[in-house]
């Protein structure tokens, strides 16, 4: 078991694939990327030591093809696979297939995954480990009648959830029995579509809870530690939008209690590698087990910044059979970190996805700014996958300064050619509710409902020079020697024109 890993295949794409490739390089481990036809020009292909084609763009024909991925791993001599997040990362059968093929799956064992992966199984495990949890049915509901029965026991309002679910799909809040039957059917069909399983269960609905999760690490020698918490209460449609560490509402005592609770669950399932235990925290700071994510999280960087550790390095070392290089008392949180997920979506237009060609990319950098980026200038964002483009993470000694630092970074950042949600982050980071950490999982929906999204270009400053600048810029960009080529996607100019523009660009570049 204790054997160095020499070559890792990364069964993922985008920023997380690049994240893992970077860790491999730093550890002297060869990296292997896989890619779909939509991703031939992606950064994971360019930065890996090796890269192999999986298939057509759709995930079902590429990144979800565990059989193909295993075959490639064996052919190229990879002795481990890192699944990243999403795709196959929580697929116990794939983990088992890796183990059977003698290739290490960088994550928990298939058994641990089965005990904690499905929400209903996880709740049984949690109950066995005596975790506080939201009252509800531990098992999938057989029928509407069954659902009604359980809902009555639990008491309205209740929440319907998909057993195989995640990301809010198959979730429905039900405030009275009258709403139950329709919600039940919708939740089931949505779950069926999203996860191939229509199993749903019922939980008591906690009003305005905070979403706070604990990062744990467990090695193969019985050591398990918690690395503090992440607050992910800023969500839209149950999708995390902003994450931060630490949470503003946890003190050392509560942090220790939640951490120890998370460790208890992991140990009850003989869990190994990195994992995240999600809790709901109510207004009285009671916490309830929500679910466990048996993989690396999108938001892991905020934990890395406040602990000074590298979670992917540690994942790999654990998979190699090494012992954790530290004990619980060696882990100290310092400062505050905030992450913004830059998405290809348009908050001013009903959060429409905006795949397409990136015509200009200006990065944010400097003190306290980390960017885990999956895009580059000239890259075409495919429509086949999650709209995440990049993760901006700000670190500072205090939460207040981390917020100001993130606003500074967003001011430097520019993605040209497609819409992004950058202005949404500005709005949140300036909102009094967020700045006072007065947030819960309903916070963002309320904020968005509050004032209608600002009209494009609407004046927000009474700065006269700013308007003058805008008009002059419009004229100058129009001027031949200031014009720039319009991207092919933005086919709003005849060929002759952008050829000419391009020739002028050459004069300037």
């Amino acid at each position: 078991m204790n054997k160095k890993i020499t070559k890792i295949l990364i069964a993922n794409r985008g920023e997380i694939a690049l994240r893992v490739i970077r860790a491999c390089r730093e550890l002297g481990i060869a990296s292997v990327a896989v890619y779909s036809d939509a991703d031939r020009a992606s950064l994971q292909v360019v930065h890996a030591d090796e890269a192999y084609r999986l298939g057509p763009a759709p995930a079902t024909e590429s990144y979800l093809r565990g059989d193909l991925i295993l075959e490639i791993a064996q052919r190229c001599g990879a002795d481990a696979i890192h699944p990243g997040y999403g795709f196959l990362s929580e697929n116990a059968d794939f983990a088992a297939a890796c183990e059977a093929a003698g290739i290490r799956f960088i994550g928990p064992s298939a058994d641990a995954m089965r005990m904690l992966g499905s929400k209903t199984r996880a709740r049984q495990t949690a109950d066995a480990a005596l975790l506080p949890r939201v009252p509800g049915s531990v098992r999938a509901l057989e029928s509407l009648a069954d659902a009604k029965e359980v809902a009555r026991q639990v008491g309205y309002p209740v929440m319907l959830k998909a057993a195989a679910g995640g990301g809010g799909k198959g979730m429905r809040a039900v405030r009275s029995e009258a709403e139950l039957s329709e919600a039940f059917e919708n939740a089931r069909s949505e779950a069926e579509r999203a996860f191939g399983s229509g199993d749903v269960y019922i939980e008591k609905l906690i009003e305005n809870p905070r979403h706070i999760e604990v990062q744990i690490l467990a090695d193969h020698h019985g050591h398990c530690v918690y690395l503090g918490e992440r607050e992910c209460s800023v969500q839209r449609r149950h999708q995390k939008v902003i994450e931060e560490a630490p949470s503003a509402v946890l003190d050392e005592k509560l942090r220790a209690r939640m951490g120890q609770t998370a460790v208890r669950l992991a140990q009850a399932a003989n869990y190994t590698n990195a994992g995240t235990v999600e809790f709901l925290v109510d207004a009285d700071r009671n916490f309830y087990f929500l679910e466990m994510n048996t993989r690396l999280q999108v938001e892991h960087p905020v934990t890395e910044l406040v602990t000074g550790l590298d979670l992917v390095h540690l994942q790999i070392q654990i998979a190699e059979g090494q012992q954790l290089p530290f004990a619980q008392q060696d882990i100290h949180l310092r400062g505050h970190a905030i992450e913004c997920r830059i998405y290809a979506e348009d908050p001013e237009n009903n959060f429409f996805p905006s795949p397409g060609k990136i015509t200009r990319l200006l990065h944010a950098s400097g003190p306290g700014i980390r960017e885990d980026c999956g895009i580059y200038e000239g890259w075409t964002v495919p429509l086949d996958y999650d709209p995440i483009l990049s993760k901006l993470i700000a670190y500072a000694p205090t939460r207040a300064m981390a917020i100001e630092r993130m606003l500074r970074a967003l001011g430097e950042y520019h993605v040209g050619g497609i819409a992004t949600n950058v202005n949404l982050f500005r709005r949140i980071l300036r909102d009094e509710g967020f700045r006072t950490a007065n947030i819960d999982t309903g916070y963002l929906e309320r904020l968005l409902a509050g004032t209608p999204p600002r009209r494009e270009g609407e004046l927000d400053s009474a700065d006269p020079e700013e308007d003058t600048a805008a008009v002059i810029a419009a004229g100058l960009f129009e001027q031949s020697n200031f014009s720039a080529p319009v991207s092919e996607e933005a086919n709003c100019a005849p060929v002759s024109a952008w050829k000419a523009a391009a020739r002028r660009e050459a004069l300037l570049s």
Binding site: P355, P387, V471, I472, F482, A484, A490
Partner: protein, 167 residues
């Protein structure tokens, strides 16, 4: 060179004259000469100094039409200038935007909520498109009557495709 620029709902008249000093240009805005120092950093990235104030301004082409980005604002604009191509493009975008429901990105049609002949209210849901694992409901920009539904459920559409026409 003279331009009529409609920006942020206001019409402006801008004249740009070559000039030895001032980094190459002299500007007249709505009849008043204003001193601005313009410097292009990269294609589409402009630095303007006006009365000492510094502005980073970007030209941002998009399928929906080009705009300039100034600080936190993305400002679509129209330029009336016979030689201008961009302005015409914007006009098209606006006009079509007003009459037809357009797919602003590629995707798959999952539901159609109205049919030809239906009277619809502004903001009423018309059609649901799925892309990037998200379903998105297109709403009516204004009240009217559906005169044509140009797609079927299950169809995959490209950006710019007309999905429905309202009058």
């Amino acid at each position: 060179m003279n331009y009529n620029i409609e920006l942020d709902g206001r019409k402006h008249r801008l004249s740009i004259q070559p000039n030895a000093e001032m980094n190459g240009y002299r500007f007249q805005l709505d009849g008043q000469s204003c001193s601005a120092d313009a410097q292009l950093l990269q294609p589409n990235v402009l630095s303007l100094l006006i009365e000492g104030k510094s502005f980073r301004i970007l030209f941002d082409p998009r399928p929906g039409g080009a705009a300039i980005v100034l600080g936190e604002r993305r400002i679509p604009y129209r330029i009336d200038d016979p030689r201008s191509l961009r302005s015409r493009a914007n006009v098209d975008a606006n006009d079509t935007g007003a009459r037809s429901i357009i797919a602003s990105m590629p995707g798959r049609i999952v539901r159609i909520l109205v049919q030809a002949g239906d009277h619809i209210e502004a903001q009423q849901g018309l059609i649901v498109v799925e892309a990037m694992k998200m379903q998105n409901e297109l709403k009516a920009p204004r009240a009217g009557t559906v005169t044509r539904v140009a797609v079927e459920v299950g169809a995959t559409v490209q950006a710019g495709k007309v999905l429905m026409v309202i009058e």
